[in-house]
């Protein structure tokens, strides 16, 4: 899948300025002296004065630039000191910083995929996207020395060679964009298994969840999906599969059969491969088996999610064998569950 970093350090992004507006011709623009930042400038701006950081850069898109006026800019107001916001604390392992999609085009179309928290952050088989006409600053600190992914695209250039990307990281721009203790490495093979791959982020589970604020849940039996940081109200369908199961096909099938229906508009559904410990006598873990976890939430008590889970179970009963599905069960936060057959 593609995972796209949401924040940017673009000049035109008004949320990057302390006054909540892009500075205009009467303003004094101040970048904090010690903030190491790479700022992307997409268009032309008038400034009264701009103070750059001691170490930092402005990347100028074609047509972008700065000019000064002889008098006041009548459209700008009295003029003020406008400061660029600090972006030091934005962490790679914060799930809220990422959007997921099946194709790059889906980002433009706003077709985002819901994932459990661990998979909201780029998985080892993912292609990481930083928006083409933008710059950013991301803190990669983690307990691991590297963050392996398949590819990273920055400023419109896609890197899938380990050495080329490591060279990019050593450039001035690379060092301003990526800071922190772990090195992002590209060239990890994509997911070659049609039934899907384990994300690989369970090793970072604590770090990921340390950034997440869980909402209080109001359902009878909140569920704890694997890879998620919070209890949820909704339903989980667990699928055992065999040869012939294709995760991408199955994700699309659920979308076409159910998610496009108006009654399911508020549904968020994430499909992932997880490794569940098999427990001997229910206590001692003795092996792990991959299975498919379908997490369904609806932002409310979970009734709608349960209805969808029932629909999915029905579909599996009729078409499971064609889809490579051998067994399935569901649990809902209402307390209902399928008969474990």
């Amino acid at each position: 899948l593609y995972k796209q970093w949401i924040p940017d350090t673009n000049y035109e992004n008004k949320t990057n300025w302390d006054k909540g507006k892009v500075p205009c011709g009467n303003d004094v623009v101040v970048f904090p002296a010690q903030g190491k930042v790479s700022v992307f400038v997409e268009t032309t701006h008038a400034v009264q004065e701009m103070r750059l950081p001691v170490d930092g850069e402005l990347i100028l898109n074609s047509g972008a630039g700065f000019y000064v006026l002889s008098g006041k800019d009548p459209a700008c107001g009295a003029g003020a000191t406008v400061q660029f916001q600090d972006s030091e604390s934005l962490q790679w392992f914060n799930p809220a910083m990422w959007q997921a999609a099946a194709t790059q085009n889906d980002f433009q179309l706003g077709k985002f995929l819901f994932s459990v928290h661990e998979e909201s952050v780029p998985c080892q088989q993912d292609d990481v996207v930083f928006k083409a006409l933008s710059s950013f600053r991301v803190d990669t600190t983690s307990s691991q020395s590297t963050i392996p992914v398949t590819s990273v695209s920055v400023l419109g250039k896609s890197f899938n060679s380990k050495s080329e990307f490591s060279e990019y990281l050593s450039t001035r721009t690379g060092q301003m964009q990526f800071h922190g203790s772990s090195a992002v490495t590209v060239g990890n093979p994509g997911c070659g298994d049609p039934s899907g791959c384990d994300c690989g982020n369970s090793v970072n589970h604590q770090l990921i969840c340390s950034t997440v604020q869980c909402a209080t849940v109001s359902c009878k039996q909140p569920l704890s999906p694997m890879g998620h940081c919070c209890e949820v109200c909704g339903a989980i369908v667990t699928i055992q599969y065999t040869v012939g199961f294709n995760m991408q096909t199955y994700r699309e099938r659920i979308h076409h059969l159910f998610l496009i229906l108006p009654e399911y508009r508020s549904i968020q559904l994430g499909v992932s491969k997880v490794f569940k410990s098999q427990k001997l006598l229910g206590v001692i873990p003795f092996s792990t088996t991959p299975e498919i976890q379908v997490v369904i939430v609806d932002g409310e008590e979970g009734k709608l999610s349960e209805a969808l889970a029932q629909n999915i179970m029905t579909d599996i009963r009729s078409h499971g064998s064609e889809l490579g599905i051998t067994e399935s069960e569901f649990q809902a936060s209402s307390g209902n569950s399928s008969d474990p057959s």
């Binding site: 950081p53 990347i59 400023l155 419109g156 250039k157 896609s158």
Partner: protein, 89 residues
């Protein structure tokens, strides 16, 4: 996919340890375009004027190399003296 974007080739204005640096990517220029009445100045110096001066200097030098510069007064004096001596022999 992404089509028209030239990757990582944009010019930059950057600060490096307080130095102000203007850079460009491969094959890309930095151009100063003074207008008829506006000047590009480095400190108090008018860059265009000085660049014209470079060429004037070169032309002057070429002329001196070809034809010699002024005649040093010692030479003139020496020649005049010799003239006098020769004419009075």
């Amino acid at each position: 996919e992404l089509k028209e974007i030239t990757p990582i080739n944009q010019p930059r204005m950057l600060a490096d340890d307080g130095h102000l640096i203007f850079t460009t990517g491969d094959d890309k220029d930095i151009r100063f375009q003074p207008s008829v009445s506006g000047r590009v100045k480095v400190g108090d110096e008018d860059l265009s004027q000085l660049l014209i001066q470079i060429k004037t200097n070169k032309e002057d030098i070429d002329k001196i190399k070809a034809d010699g510069g002024a005649i040093p007064p010692e030479i003139s004096n020496h020649l005049n003296q010799l003239d006098t001596q020769v004419s009075t022999v």
